[in-house]
């Protein structure tokens, strides 16, 4: 079953949840929502056009990500990196109501490097209609070992 997994991490992003549950299914059959601290927690029968599941938090969303064919995420680093690390096509929705919205920088850079698609709530529907996931490039994981090596040398660890 073609599945979309939506995640907002530890934040609250009601506008995304509203927009993603509105009328169209865009070719997907199952929609799983992780709503975090949001005020909207849709019930299973609230969507007629798609099979819906929703929850606030889980100890790990690795399994939900693994089962997804598409991940829609807020622009938080943890969520983005986890989705990219799972090797799934990622659409990031930037929350333009946040103070100073620095999240845009990461989404924009990763988008420039063709690792994800990005949009805002107002352009979400349009993006879902017209997106081309095959153009996305694989994302290589970061290397904390470089950090450790540098620190060992700088601090005189033998």
């Amino acid at each position: 079953m073609k599945t979309v997994f939506v995640t907002v991490g530890t934040t609250k992003f009601d506008e995304l949840i509203e927009n993603v549950t509105s009328k169209e299914a865009h070719g997907y059959e199952r929609l799983v929502l992780q709503v975090g601290r949001g005020s909207l927690l849709p019930t299973v029968d609230s969507c007629l056009h798609i099979r819906l599941e929703a929850f606030r938090f889980k100890d790990s969303i690795a399994e939900d990500m693994k089962q997804a064919d598409l991940i829609i995420s807020h622009a938080g680093a943890g969520s983005c990196l986890e989705a990219l690390g799972a090797g799934k096509p990622l659409l990031v929705v930037v929350n333009d109501k946040l103070m100073d919205n620095h999240q845009l920088e990461l989404a924009a850079q990763l988008h420039m490097d063709s690792h994800l698609l990005y949009c805002t709530c107002s352009t979400l529907i349009q993006t879902l209609r017209s997106m081309d996931l095959s153009a996305l490039q694989p994302f290589l994981p970061g290397q904390p070992r470089k950090f450790a090596t540098f620190l060992d040398k700088a601090l005189g660890v033998r």
């Binding site: 991490g9 530890t10 934040t11 938090f57 100890d59 622009a75 938080g76 680093a77 943890g78 969520s79 990196l81 986890e82 946040l98 103070m99 620095h102 999240q103 920088e105 990461l106 924009a108 850079q109 970061g142 290397q143 904390p144 070992r145 470089k146 950090f147 450790a148 540098f150 620190l151 060992d152 700088a154 601090l155 005189g156 660890v157 033998r158």
Partner: protein, 216 residues
């Protein structure tokens, strides 16, 4: 009259001494090699959500020499403690010597909190940070951006200024920051001993920073 003059002179002198000490502490960071004595005590600041995930990624490859590890989280943070315990338990393979502790301090600033009240809450967090850092005496503070780390870094700096212990400030700007530094980064950039950025555009703008590419 002479007493007043004397008092003014004393205050000015102390301030001058303070700034000279601050200058010395900041400039001599690179010379301090706590690795020489074997163990490096680390104070790790875990902010909420992504910050904790990133800082634990950074910790992943640190050797057993970095012990004990003292994690400090904000009192309103519900999720970091679990992430830390999971991380630490996964490390418990061979070293029975590795130890970790978790401490809570008031949050310096909540997301969306106004800047004015943030100054007050940061000062409040300082009230808790000073005794904590003075007690733990870490060799190094590791942080990556949440406001929670500022009072802890200030406390670490103070320990050095007072000549009690040199505490290295290691700051790794979040991977979210591509073009601009966070407010915490801007504040800590002049006083950090090791300041890492993860995108080349920031390295170009902040020459004192260290760029190793993406490290989380």
């Amino acid at each position: 009259m002479a007493v007043l003059l004397g008092a003014v002179f004393a205050v000015v002198f102390i301030c001058l001494l303070f700034f000279i000490r601050l200058y010395i502490v900041v400039k001599t960071g690179a010379k301090y090699k706590p690795g020489n004595k074997g163990q490096i005590a680390v104070l790790v600041v875990a902010g909420s959500g992504g910050h904790t995930t990133e800082v634990l990624r950074l910790m992943e490859c640190l050797s057993a020499a970095y012990t004990p590890r003292h994690y400090v989280i904000a009192d309103t943070d519900r999720m970091s403690e679990e992430k830390i315990c999971t991380f630490e338990n996964s490390k418990q393979c061979s070293d029975s010597e590795s130890q970790f502790t978790i401490h809570r301090i008031p949050r310096s600033r909540e997301v969306h909190q106004s800047w004015n009240s943030s100054v007050v809450s940061t000062l409040n967090a300082l009230r808790y940070s000073l005794p904590l850092v003075f007690r733990l005496r870490p060799d190094m503070v590791l942080c990556n951006g949440p406001g929670t780390c500022i009072p802890l870094c200030v406390a670490g700096l103070l320990l050095g200024i007072l000549g009690m212990k040199k505490v290295l400030l290691v700051y790794v700007e979040s991977i979210c920051r591509v073009q601009t530094l966070s407010l915490t980064g801007k504040i800590l950039y002049p006083i950090s001993d090791y300041f890492f950025v993860q995108w080349s555009s920031l390295r170009d703008r902040y020459p004192k920073s260290i760029f190793l590419g993406r490290i989380v």
